[in-house]
Symmetry: C2
Subunit: 337 residues, 2 copies
Amino acid sequence: MNSNNVTIYDVAREAGVSMATVSRVVNGNPNVKPTTRKKVQDAIDRLGYRPNAVARGLASKKTTTVGVIVPDISNIFFADLARGIEDVATMYKYNIILGNSDSSRDKEVHLLNTLLGKQVDGIIFMGGRLHEDLVEEFKKSPVPIVLAATLNQGYDLPAVNIDYEQAAYDATHMLINHGHDRVGFITGPLEQQINGEKKFAGYRRALEDAGLPFHENDMILGNYTYASGLEAMQKMLQRDDCPKAIFAGTDEMALGVIHAIQDAGYSVPNDFEVVGHDNTRLATMIRPKLTTVVQPMYDIGAVAMRLLTKILNAEEIEEKNVVLPHRIERRDSLRQD
Amino acid sequence: MNSNNVTIYDVAREAGVSMATVSRVVNGNPNVKPTTRKKVQDAIDRLGYRPNAVARGLASKKTTTVGVIVPDISNIFFADLARGIEDVATMYKYNIILGNSDSSRDKEVHLLNTLLGKQVDGIIFMGGRLHEDLVEEFKKSPVPIVLAATLNQGYDLPAVNIDYEQAAYDATHMLINHGHDRVGFITGPLEQQINGEKKFAGYRRALEDAGLPFHENDMILGNYTYASGLEAMQKMLQRDDCPKAIFAGTDEMALGVIHAIQDAGYSVPNDFEVVGHDNTRLATMIRPKLTTVVQPMYDIGAVAMRLLTKILNAEEIEEKNVVLPHRIERRDSLRQD
DNA sequence: TTGAAAGCGCTAACAG
DNA sequence: CTGTTAGCGCTTTCAA
């Protein structure tokens, strides 16, 4: 009845076979006579035997556990990603050890080493940018590492992303197409590969292609949060030449932007038009509903985990650097065409 | 240089000591001569030795890993809880294996067994209600289990919660105090211990204490989501005798409620007053800002994990059934007194 | 203060 | 189809 301290050896004795046979039954090895299999299975049930994964891991050098390093699981964006990872992991019989890094280089390195010490079979990493030290550690890793929603910055690491530069271009372009000759850009720190560099590059390219100048003033850097979006827009509203179109780097910031506009007595989309980024659930939880770039977080997580399983199984891999499609979901924060 | 396949034995040879001594150094055992310690440490650094936690786990029967079972990590509520758990876990050198159950009894049982198979040192469980089968498994668990934001339904399980019945009472009472003789109640499935039973009980008690009758019609059951809150309120608005005060079981539903009201051309709080529950970040991400019951999710997670560490360390425990304080945060979805 | 040796529970050849 | 036998890398007595 007890399910603990019962070992494979106990089962072997109870069933009158060797532990090797029990191991075969437990692992679904076909080379076991049906009669024997049944005998063993009965003994297992009777004793309530549960294989010890730690012992198995030591003997087989596989733990069926993968590490997941995420900046902050309480961020809706990463939570969605994590869910995609976990679902596919479960599908392939893996478990997830989850760790929050707060995007701190030290915590990232420390977490990585802890996970490797725990002998995970692979790692999925999410982070704002890849610090050199980290990449050094990655290179020394005995197990494969896949990046999710994180650019590989030229390093030879498998990664799953969308084309952030193009997405920002599309969003900005859409705003320009609505007749704006200035577009405000509110996003995260510029040092961040995706939210800073890439989105900024797309924004600038859209401006350039439209023959519009880039005004330093039209860009405000926050930290992704609602509060920082609100604050940034409040600041922008104080200017006489405030842009009437805003592209926000994340949905959360976009909500802040919209509320700042509304709090100041203006209307979205009549006075101001706003486009967000990510299409988190927040996008429809506001009035007007938010037009936003669709980044399929769940899918990115799922595809990243699937990619990792392929690497672990030595399956053939077409492309290690996966770029998922993006699009813009039109809602009411933009005027009808 | 390489950090893998280097074993304690290699270090021992390199340092000219026995593996027992290396083990002592690695584990900070004080009974090692400083000279020896240094010699070993140097060898460790030179070889890039990283202890194998799996082997250690097998030998010591401790994995410094705890399992966390959560209905859905992509739900902002549980993501916050998980963050609290993880932070305290890290503080005490534990890692977290995270699994989503989708509140399915089968998945819960399966996950539990997988975690026990992986020899976790303890488990933190979150779920809508404790199914009998699950409790049976809990009883057989060789490691301690702590419930977080989950009622122990009379079973003798350590748990961390707030007083949900009283919280619902307080919210309803506050609405009644604002002059309403009817209060709409929109929450999750009644089978759920917390969101159904407890909150319902508090709601009814507040009504009773105020001498108000309970109208079956005034209660609508959804599924916690924004969409279900929106839909429920739309339905309620079609009635001639629609209550002008609404208590929503979760913030997300409350946002849906407010938007349904606004979409119908009414004002919050002038025409309708709304109170939510949880005080997730959503509460301030809406206009008017949401008055809501503060349930400290992060703290519940943190305290649950701390409680687990106490049990694991056999520290003295004052109270196994922890009830954290709650309060109502007044914001603009309620009229000024 | 240090070393020798016996496991922890399981997998994986290798025989038979 | 089944059993024997080494380990996997580490902790933990027990002696010295």
